[in-house]
Point group: C2
Chain length 218, copies 2
Amino acid sequence: MSIQIYGFWRSIASFRVRVALKLKGLSFEEIPVDILAGEQFRPGYEAVNAERVVPTLLHDGHTLFQSLAIIEYLEDIRPEPRLLPLDPKDRAYARSLALVTVADAHPLITPRIRNHLVATFGADATAVENWGRHWTMEGLATYERLLERRAPQPFALGAEPGLADICVAGHTIAAQYLKLELTGFPVVARLSERCFALPAFLSSHPFEQPGYKATQAR
Amino acid sequence: MSIQIYGFWRSIASFRVRVALKLKGLSFEEIPVDILAGEQFRPGYEAVNAERVVPTLLHDGHTLFQSLAIIEYLEDIRPEPRLLPLDPKDRAYARSLALVTVADAHPLITPRIRNHLVATFGADATAVENWGRHWTMEGLATYERLLERRAPQPFALGAEPGLADICVAGHTIAAQYLKLELTGFPVVARLSERCFALPAFLSSHPFEQPGYKATQAR
């Protein structure tokens, strides 16, 4: 099957979709949309993604948006290897872990929020960074509390990495962007290390993308 | 089966879970947690909900959190009536619509964000309200663009209400809180009206909850 994604090297939601595709063994082509340069506001892109965000997945003549919905779609069309367990309570736990960052922490630190803080409150670079650090720390603390109660063995839901691990690993990328130490969150840190020891995670990391490497070469 | 939820009358995420339970025909008891009065920070509640937010669902000795994960859980344990369609692309569309508010608009206007804007930027009541209005309008505009392209017939995914409708209806409650007119968003407005014509939606509305009525009686 032919799959394309509109993504951006720095986007953590794009990272999540990349990892899911790779864990499923699905090849894809990534079309860059530079959301820091405002390329998501080009008129043509709104037809692809009504929210004007990344990622968007193109498959079989359809466009799909929202990273979590995309990953669930991949699970529906290509069940193996599973990214969600089969037991309903475990599935709920996996989805809840995902949503800690997808619904609660990550939406608060995206470019559109940072830009709005500047425009509305005259926030300077330090204030914007502190805002990001605050909510990223909140997410890390929640993850640590949750993972302490149900220790990863070695991944959040068991022997194999899945949706929850993808989202926790993505959250640690936000921490990395903001130069936050993970020393206060040892269970999160170990889980993230385990994830990035796998090629699917490592090769999906923002700093491994061509777009990032191009910025470094300038 | 015995189901309890920790919820709050004003919480839109609690509203979503109430509607899903009622559409599924599952009876439940709601235990109020006044998140405006800070009851979510009582030490005992953190054991129930590591994020210290509502809602939490208690079932069969387990606690489940995050409204979307809870609704997916209800779909897993009680498939009929379906809140998600069976076709993978339609399922993805339903989940994407849900996430427009669950992951993008609603997290930005919760009490913890409003409090943080006050604490960090010294935002006054007007600034906090304008912040809420901005992001709620963004969500309404996204919904209108999406629903214009694929007209509700009469609900977002077809003849019966489901996850997507629950989330759109919840978003219009945020608009109601902020006294935003829906006149610029006619497709959203009609869908919301259709939803609230149903007892499962109407009886789940914040202003129909005992906690709200108690505030009015004071």
